[in-house]
Every structure is written in structure tokens, then in C-alpha cells.
């Protein structure tokens, strides 16, 4: 590997990374308005990303990139745009590094990366042969799809039935309209489960959806409903609500048996589509849990077994929540309803260290002993051997690559990924945490525990990672832009960080929605395979900045 990378880098361009290291430390700490730090950073003023963009983007590079040096005169509109750009560079930062970012009272959300409660439509789409029915305004479904959608699944995208509520439904109520759409759905769409989701219009006006859907439930139709008016919560919260409603209104009536079955577990991990790697991650969780001898209800995605698998939820001996906080509400609900215990693994396990830890916790929680336990341990060992053989291959590159690798990273992710990535990058790959930003509107009651976990990321106990819980990522952007670190930086975030990364000369690994600049189909970022995949993606883009 090192040979190949050396060869590639022999033709190295003047990279952005050195530009950053030469940048004088902006006088941000002293902060008075007249000398805005941003305008002083050469990385921003001298090297507008325009000239760099074609090298980095997958978007078609404009043909004129190949034109000879003497630039043609700027047209009127180009000159106007140049002035607007200069103006944008001259604006002083609105945050201060001495301030606690969580204390900034922002009334708004900039660079939003999750959607509202009705985003639970994507969780329905992720269940094989299930279809959401929206009782909402005409644009809700499309907007959810625009932010987190990936293709259409079985019956998502433009297939999703919707009442497209208008003035009439808002003024006179929309229950009749909803009945028509439900009945049409039964006829037109072949599905095993129909899930009615309400939007702002219905929830503010107060349609009695329970009664409408109740009639169809009594008639024996596989249909449930959930109140997901957008103002009520976001799609992390509503995902839990949706699953609990399916359990209460449908699974409980169709459950296969109530007795716990040894070796059967339910997994509540990714929020489908909000976790862009949900399909691959769930596949990996199922693979490794089966690897230690368990039978797995994975419930969502291409490896799920459809609605029959949901019928078996009450039979599980253990519920496994792999998430910082989202999913706990489901496990607690199931504990209450069926007495099923649960294991909470509070971040995405990426790479061997955390994945093995996860699997061993599951082995303990399922009370395996003797032969089964030994078999499980053998699986863990075999996976670790493979994983570290790949790390061994990588190590020459990490230790010897002469043109600079990212040394510190920022994450702008949800809590589960932020913690998972922080642990992985530090303990397996040797990139140290700068400031971490958790942007999933983590409910207050979970924050202290998660913050404590960021304090324990180093397996040698050498350092703590600083974390800020924010909903407005504009604050995170501003803090990162005015950061003074001189090493090459990595941002693990979303497509919203594209320009930010270009401006400060950082590498950007896009993990969170919105995902615009990369294609994700079946890749996993979780488990043993996920760790290897992250490394491949990360260092491919690190090397891709060279000419």
C-alpha cells in the first residue's frame, strides 16, 4: 500500500493542508470587532475554493477549468458575485471561543440534518412490505424524502399515499378524506402493514385519527397510526413512538407466543435512513450476532424478515439497543409490556475494539456458558484477527506517509455516531479528538451520561473529548471556522460541511444527512467490517486531494 500511495503523492500538488499550516494564528482570542479572524486566514482569502473545487468534487468539472491561464474579464454577474463573496468573508464571527457554546441561546436551526416527527415515514418504508399513509399537507412526504430518502424502498417516495390536506380539511376536518385514502391504499398498494402518520395540519386541527383507524383495525386490517405532527418532535423521537405504536396496535394482537425463546434477540439500532448506513449497519449487526450463536430480529432493511419477524418481537429473551439514547424508549416499553430485559450499548461500535466489547456484553447478557460461550469467543477472535491483519497493512501508511495526514478531528453528528467515531478514530487509527458537536437534539436527561462517556473515550485514559450538544449547527460551523489549530484536520459530518471543509483545508468524511456528495447503498460503518470500510473511505478521500 505504501508504494502505491507514495507513487500517487509523488505528483503532489500544492495541497490545502500546507496552506493551513502556514496560516498565522488568527487573533480570535482577543476578538474585538475590527479585526475579524476570518479575513486574516490566507486559506480563505487567497485560495477561494472555486479553484480547488474541481479537484475535490464528483460534480462534473466545468469545461473552462482547462482554459489557459489569462482569465477572461469577469461578466457583470460574476463581478457582483465576487463582491458578495468578499462581503461574506468580511463578516465577523458571531461566536466566541471563550463562551460555552451550549449557553448560546439560538432561536433557529441552521444546517439542519434531521427532520420532524413525520420523518418516521422512512422507518415505515424500511419495514419490508409496509407502507406509510400520510394524513398531512401535500409537501411533507417529499421534504422528508429530500433530506434523508435513499431511493424508494418498497413503497416510499412518490408511492406514499397522502391526503394532501388543503383548506377544506383544515376548516372542516379531514377524517372523510383520510378514509378515502386508506381504502384506496388497501386496494392499490400490496402491503402487509399500513401505517397512518399525521402531520401538522391534522394534529393542530384535531382530527380524530384514532377513531378512523380504529374502525379498520376492528375490521381486521393490518393498520396502525401514530401522531407525528412536525411541531411535536423530531424523527429520532418519533421513530420510538412509531415502533411502540406498531407493537401496541398490531404486534400485540398478532404475536406468535409470549414466552421468551432462548437465543432470540431484538435489535433496535439505526433510525432507518436518518442513519445513512442503516441497511449495511443492520446487516452487520445481524451477521455478528448470528456469529455468536444468536437468532436475530433485525426488523428493518433488506435482511429483515417482514411482518412475521415483528410478530416474534415479544418472544425475544433480550432487547439490544445500540444507540446513545434513541431506542431506549422502545426497550423500556417492551420491558414493561413483556418483561424483556435489555442491553444498552450506547454508541455505534466501529472497528474491532468496540465491536468485540459489544459482543462480549451480549454474551454475558444472554447468559451463555460452556460450549456456546466458547464458540462465541472463537467468532470474536476470528473477526479480530481479520480486522487487525488489515490494520497491520494500514500501519506502514499511517506511520510513514510523508505528505501529511489528518491529526485531529471534529464530529458534527448524532450522539451515537459522534461517540462511536471519536472512540474509533482515537483508539484504532490515531486521530485525536478536537471539539465534538452532537447535533441530534439529545433530550436533556441523557446528556450528562453521554458527556461522561466522551470523557472516557481513551482506552488508556490519556484524554477526554470535549463535547457540545447543539441543535443549531451554525454555532459549530462558526467555532470551527475560527479555530486556530495548525495541523491537517478531519471533519466527520454531513454535506453541509463541504464549503467549511474546503475553506479551512480540512478533509471531510460525510456520514450524516444531508448526504449529497457521495453514494451510499449497502456499505456498513458499524462492526468489524464497518471499521475497515471507514478506513478505506477516509484515507481514499485524504489521498484524493493530491493532483
Amino acid at each position: 500500500m505504501s508504494k502505491r500511495t507514495e507513487a500517487a503523492s509523488a505528483q503532489r500538488a500544492r495541497t490545502k493542508a500546507p496552506a493551513r499550516t502556514k496560516a498565522p494564528a488568527p487573533a480570535r482570542a482577543t476578538q474585538p470587532a475590527p479585526a475579524p479572524a476570518r479575513t486574516e486566514a490566507p486559506a480563505r482569502t487567497e485560495a477561494p475554493a472555486r479553484t480547488e473545487a474541481p479537484a475535490r468534487t464528483e460534480a462534473p468539472a466545468p469545461a473552462r477549468a482547462t482554459q489557459p491561464a489569462p482569465a477572461p474579464a469577469r461578466t457583470e454577474i460574476q463581478a457582483v458575485a465576487d463582491r458578495i463573496y468578499e462581503h461574506s468573508l468580511s463578516i465577523a464571527p458571531f461566536t466566541c471561543h471563550d463562551e460555552n457554546p451550549e449557553a448560546i441561546d439560538s432561536p433557529l436551526i441552521e444546517w439542519s440534518r434531521y427532520t420532524c416527527a413525520i420523518g418516521a415515514q422512512q422507518s415505515v418504508v424500511a419495514i419490508p412490505r409496509a407502507v406509510p399513509i400520510l394524513h398531512s399537507g401535500p409537501g411533507c412526504s417529499t421534504k422528508v424524502d429530500a433530506l434523508i430518502g435513499q431511493g424508494r424502498g418498497y413503497a416510499g417516495g412518490g408511492t406514499i399515499p397522502c391526503t394532501n390536506s388543503g383548506e377544506t380539511e383544515v376548516i372542516y376536518g379531514g377524517e372523510d378524506r383520510l378514509r378515502g385514502v386508506i381504502e384506496g391504499s388497501f386496494k392499490v398498494i400490496d402491503a402487509d402493514l399500513y401505517v397512518v402518520l399525521t402531520g401538522c395540519t391534522s394534529d393542530i386541527v384535531g382530527d380524530n385519527v384514532a377513531s378512523v383507524v380504529g374502525d379498520y383495525q376492528l375490521a381486521g386490517h393490518p393498520i396502525v397510526y401514530t401522531e407525528t405532527g412536525g411541531f411535536k418532535s423530531n424523527n429520532y423521537v418519533s421513530h420510538e413512538l412509531l415502533v411502540n405504536n406498531i407493537i401496541d396496535q398490531y404486534v400485540d394482537l398478532n404475536k406468535s407466543s409470549t414466552g421468551a425463546r432462548r437465543g432470540l434477540v431484538n435489535v433496535f439500532a439505526s433510525v432507518p435512513y436518518q442513519d445513512a448506513f442503516w441497511n449495511g449497519n443492520l446487516e452487520e449487526y445481524k451477521r455478528i450476532l448470528e456469529g455468536i450463536g444468536l437468532e436475530v430480529n433485525i426488523l428493518f432493511g433488506l435482511d429483515a424478515d417482514g411482518i412475521e419477524e415483528w410478530h416474534r418481537i415479544p418472544e425475544a429473551e433480550l432487547n439490544i439497543v445500540i444507540s446513545a439514547w434513541c431506542g431506549l424508549g422502545i426497550a423500556e416499553h417492551l420491558a414493561e409490556r413483556y418483561g424483556t430485559p435489555f442491553l444498552h450499548f450506547p454508541y455505534v461500535p466501529i472497528g474491532a475494539r468496540d465491536t468485540s466489547d459489544f459482543l462480549r456484553q451480549v454474551v454475558d447478557a444472554t447468559g451463555q456458558s460452556g460450549k456456546r460461550r466458547a464458540k462465541a469467543e472463537a467468532f470474536v477472535q476470528a473477526e479480530e484477527r481479520k480486522f487487525y491483519a488489515h490494520i497491520d497493512t494500514l500501519m506502514d501508511f499511517l506511520l510513514e506517509f510523508r505528505y501529511g495526514l489528518p491529526r485531529e478531528f471534529f464530529t458534527l453528528l448524532d450522539a451515537s455516531y459522534a461517540l462511536g467515531f471519536t472512540r474509533f478514530l482515537l483508539n484504532e487509527v490515531g486521530i485525536k479528538p478536537a471539539q465534538q458537536f452532537v447535533l441530534d437534539d439529545t433530550p436533556e436527561r441523557f446528556r450528562e451520561e453521554i458527556r461522561a462517556r466522551f470523557g472516557e473515550v481513551s482506552h488508556l485514559g490519556l484524554r477526554k473529548a470535549d463535547v457540545s450538544f447543539l441543535t443549531d449547527a451554525g454555532i459549530a460551523h462558526d467555532l470551527i471556522r475560527t479555530d486556530t489549530k495548525s495541523c491537517r484536520l478531519l471533519i466527520v459530518g454531513s454535506s453541509w460541511e463541504r464549503q467549511l471543509a474546503a475553506d479551512i483545508g480540512a478533509d471531510l468524511l460525510i456520514v450524516s444527512p444531508p448526504i449529497v456528495y457521495r453514494t451510499i447503498l449497502g456499505a456498513t460503518y458499524a462492526g468489524y467490517r464497518g471499521g475497515i470500510r471507514v478506513i478505506e473511505d477516509l484515507y481514499s478521500l485524504v489521498l484524493n486531494v493530491f493532483r
Binding site: P48, A49, R50, P54, R64, I77, Q78, A81, D82, I84, Y85, S88, F94, P107, L108, I109, S112, T115, C116, G119, R129, V131, L134, G137, P138, G139, C140, T142, K143, D145, A146, L147, R152, Y154, A155, G157, G158, T159, C162, N164, S165, G166, I171, G180, V181, K187, V188, D190, C200, T201, I204, G230, F231, S495, W496, R498, Q499, P514, V516, Y517
Partner: protein, 493 residues
């Protein structure tokens, strides 16, 4: 047709203003007939699928103004369309060799408490915070179902903020539930621009407004030859530039479904003549459009020269395409005006248009001039389209129609539709750049694209053999319009 009223903070929805409809099945000629006889009637569907809403259409235009910021006063889910338009803006900027400007879009995060206590005060704080962060030349506030139903005083809030900040802060009233026709959102955006930004002319310029999306820049050459300059709006325009659109010599519509309201407003209020002939798609359509442009700009001779020259230039290749496509059939699904344009292009290239599923229908545009009716022009020039439906992007109807008619080609003008052609093994493509088919060269562009689409079919055949569909076999055997016809809700329009 009500005259443009800038006093009102909101524009009347298309259903009321233009008598537009979202449901019809019949022939193109029948639809033209009842449009002109003013006997057009709305039909709604008892079963429907998700559409798009006006707030996205409004945002689609406002988000592209280079030095304005947009506040979406809504729960966070309504901001789901931000990234798509931001990337359009960034790639469009790259194509135009502009510096890497960011689209600055903000969401006011309306929560449950806001629906109880009101969110107007919060909106005021959001606007001030946006000003602090971006220092924009103007701020637009787009509304949502939630803000509309709880009844926030948007107009009062933006007026206070404008006075305090000294920049235009403009409400764009575009709640999704107000209209079944999402293009009403374009009208909302333009209404807010005309109300809040456009100033009376100081002088007349030799610029021509081109109301467009973010299509390719094909008008420089044409207008340059005629002695005029381009003024593309709204995408990649500036606040100052928009203030002066009243000074232009004329307004060109790339798609009157998009620019109907803006073109009419500029003509009615500031006397900027709008080219009323349907946009230049197809040979005869282009002749007619150019002649009107020649009349309005007073360059008749230059236009006649151009017509002769260009027709002669494209003639040989057009004849080749016509030979090649003779006897082939096509279906299309598209928004109204651009759908009419695609019909002309397909007919010009020798296709038989089996049918068209068009999202809505405006019997008239805001200029009130029947001369702008592109569908009437299609029928007159190329004959009737037998299977003409107004489908409001109802996928289930389109799938039923496509399986029934099995055309050789599907042309789609909206995301997610070409996919169904592919599933059925029908060569399909999406028209992304509206300017692509414009004028004489546009016919050849289409010919080339279609030739490639019809040729490149290995992967489609492979895919369609394996593709799954959630549609029931029962449905595929029904009359595609069997859910259409419930007229109980027409009264509300």
C-alpha cells in the same frame, strides 16, 4: 382574472386566480375547448399520493438569490428541501464560474409550545440573528402549515424587523395546505419580490428579463445578436439587480407555469412587455416566439434573417431524426407549460404522442391572453393528443397508463417518474435543463438525447426483468381514473 394587487401580503392561489385544475381525463382538444369556453371543472381524487407543496416552489426561487437569506418559519421538517436547493445553487455557481457562495437558509424550529403561545416573537428573534450572521441585502420569510394555522402575525413581524434592520424583510405566504397546485409557490415568491424588492424604473435599459430556473445560458448569443443583454432571474441574481427588473426592455418566459405571475406583474405595474407567445419549442413555435420578440424589441429584420438561417442549419439533421423516429410512440409526464413544450418537440421529431399525464392545468395565465395557451398551439399545429390527463403527479395513475399504453419512450419532467418507465422496461429520461429543448437547436438537442436513450437499453432490460412493484394486480386492471371525480371539495376553491 384579478389584477395584480401588491397591497395584499399574499397572492391568491391559482385555483381562484386562474381557475386552474388538478384533475382531468380526456383529450387535449377537449381540455383546450372547455378552458376557452370557461367550462373547466375541477375533479379531485378519493385516493391520492403525496405531492409537493407551495413552500418548496417558493423556496426554489428565493433560495437562489445570491445576497438574500431565507427564513423558513416552520417545524424543522419543512427545511428538508434546503440541501437539494443548496447543492443546485453551489453547482450552478460553479457552472457559472462564480465564487463559492453559500446558500444561507434558516429554520425557526416551530415546536409544540410555539403552536400554543404563538411563534411570531421567536420569528422576530430569528430574523435579527440571521442578520447578525449573514448581513444579507434582504431576508425572505417563507411560511408553513403550522405557522399559518396558528395564525402568527408574519406581516407585522417582518415590517418591524425591516424598519429596525434597514433592509427589506419580506413575507412570502406559501403554506402548503392553501393550494393543491404547488406552482402557486412560484407566484408567492414572485409576489414577495415584486412587493418587496422591485423599484420603479429610473430609465429603460437594453436588458431582457429571463424568468427561468437554473438552466443553461443560451440567451446570450440570441439577444447579443439582436443588440440586447440577458438578465436571468431569480436564480443567480442579486437584490440590487432584482430592484431594477422594472427597467428591462422585455420579459421572456422559459416556462409560463413558472413565471406567469412575475411576467404579468412587471407588465401591469411597470410596463415591461412580456413575450406572450408560448416559449420557443418546436419549429413553428420558435418562429412565432421569435417574431413576437422581434416586434417587442423592434428588431424584425434581424429576427427574420435568424429564422431563415437557423431553419436551414438544422434542417438536414432534423430530417435524419424524423426518419429515424418515424412510427415510434411516446408518453410524457410533466408540469403544465413544459409538458406542452415536450409535446411540440416530440411531434416535431416524428414521434406519435400516445398520451400525456400533466400535473395541473391553467386555463389562462396571469396575462389573461389566450395567445399564451401552448396546449392550444400544440393541438393547432400537430393535432390532438388522445390520452391527455391532468394527474397532479399521481404515480399510481401514471403506472397504470404506462403499463396500458407501453410507449417506446417516456419523457418525464419531475423526479421519480423516469424510474417507473425503467421498471416497465421503457426507455426513459428526465428533462432537467428547461433550456435544453429551447429554440431550433433545442429540437436537435432532444433528438440526440432521445437517440441515445433509445439506444442505451441493456441496463434497463436487465433491471426491469428483476424490478419489484408495490402496485396490486387489481389496480393495473382498473380504469386509471376510477378514483377521480369526487367533486365534493370544489366549492372550497
Amino acid at each position: 382574472m384579478a389584477p395584480i394587487d401588491l397591497k395584499s401580503p399574499e397572492v391568491q392561489i391559482r385555483e381562484v386566480r386562474l381557475g386552474s385544475i388538478t384533475g382531468f381525463s380526456g383529450t387535449a382538444q377537449e381540455l383546450v375547448g372547455c378552458s376557452h369556453a370557461r367550462s373547466i371543472r375541477e375533479q379531485t381524487r378519493s385516493f391520492q399520493q403525496s405531492m409537493m407543496c407551495a413552500s418548496s416552489a417558493a423556496f426554489c426561487q428565493l433560495s437562489m438569490i445570491m445576497d438574500a437569506a431565507v427564513v423558513n418559519h416552520a417545524p424543522v421538517g419543512c427545511a428538508g428541501d434546503f440541501p437539494g436547493f443548496e447543492v443546485t445553487y453551489r453547482i450552478g455557481g460553479q457552472e457559472r464560474d462564480l465564487p463559492p457562495l453559500l446558500g444561507r437558509y434558516f429554520n425557526s424550529n416551530i415546536t409544540e409550545a410555539d403552536t400554543v403561545f404563538g411563534a411570531a416573537e421567536k420569528l422576530g428573534r430569528v430574523i435579527r440573528e440571521v442578520y447578525r450572521r449573514v448581513r444579507p441585502k434582504a431576508i425572505f420569510v417563507t411560511t408553513s402549515c403550522a405557522s399559518g394555522i396558528i395564525g402568527d402575525d408574519i406581516e407585522g413581524t417582518v415590517n418591524d424587523a425591516a424598519e429596525e434592520l434597514g433592509i427589506p424583510v419580506i413575507a412570502c405566504i406559501c403554506e402548503g395546505f392553501r393550494s393543491k397546485i404547488w406552482t402557486t409557490g412560484f407566484d408567492s415568491a414572485y409576489h414577495s419580490v415584486v412587493r418587496g424588492l422591485v423599484k420603479p424604473p429610473r430609465k429603460k435599459t437594453r436588458k431582457v428579463n429571463i424568468i427561468n430556473f437554473w438552466g443553461s445560458h443560451i440567451f446570450e448569443e440570441l439577444l447579443g445578436r439582436l443588440g440586447y443583454e440577458v438578465n436571468y432571474i431569480l436564480p443567480f441574481s442579486s437584490v440590487d439587480q432584482l430592484a431594477r427588473v422594472s427597467e428591462s426592455a422585455a420579459t421572456i418566459q422559459i416556462c409560463p407555469t413558472l413565471g406567469s405571475y412575475f411576467g404579468a406583474a412587471l407588465e401591469q405595474i411597470y410596463g415591461v412587455p412580456e413575450i406572450k407567445a408560448p416559449p420557443a419549442y418546436g419549429l413553428a413555435g420558435t418562429d412565432r416566439w421569435l417574431r413576437e420578440l422581434g416586434d417587442v424589441l423592434d428588431v424584425r429584420d434581424a429576427v427574420e434573417e435568424l429564422i431563415v438561417e437557423e431553419r436551414a442549419r438544422i434542417e438536414p439533421r432534423l430530417a435524419e431524426y424524423r426518419r429515424k423516429f418515424e412510427g415510434k410512440t411516446a408518453y410524457l409526464t410533466a408540469g403544465a407549460a413544459h409538458g406542452h413544450a415536450i409535446i411540440a418537440l416530440l411531434r416535431e421529431l416524428g414521434f406519435y404522442v400516445k398520451g400525456a399525464a400533466i400535473f395541473h392545468h391553467d386555463p389562462l395565465y396571469d396575462n389573461g391572453d389566450p395567445a399564451s395557451d401552448a396546449l392550444a398551439q400544440d393541438v393547432r399545429l400537430y393535432g390532438d393528443v388522445k390520452n391527455y390527463s391532468v394527474c397532479n403527479k399521481q404515480e399510481y395513475e401514471i403506472i397504470n397508463l404506462l403499463s396500458r399504453h407501453q410507449p417506446d419512450l417516456l419523457v418525464a419532467r419531475h423526479g421519480g417518474m423516469a424510474h417507473w418507465g425503467a421498471k416497465l422496461g421503457i426507455p426513459s429520461f428526465l428533462v432537467d435543463d428547461e433550456q435544453f429543448g429551447f429554440g431550433y437547436q433545442g429540437i436537435l438537442n432532444y433528438g440526440e438525447r432521445i437517440e441515445d436513450t433509445l439506444d442505451n437499453r441493456e441496463y434497463l432490460a436487465n433491471f426491469s426483468a428483476k424490478a419489484e412493484s408495490p402496485y396490486s394486480s387489481w389496480w393495473l386492471e382498473q380504469d386509471p381514473f376510477c378514483f377521480l371525480g369526487d367533486e365534493t371539495h370544489v366549492e372550497a376553491y
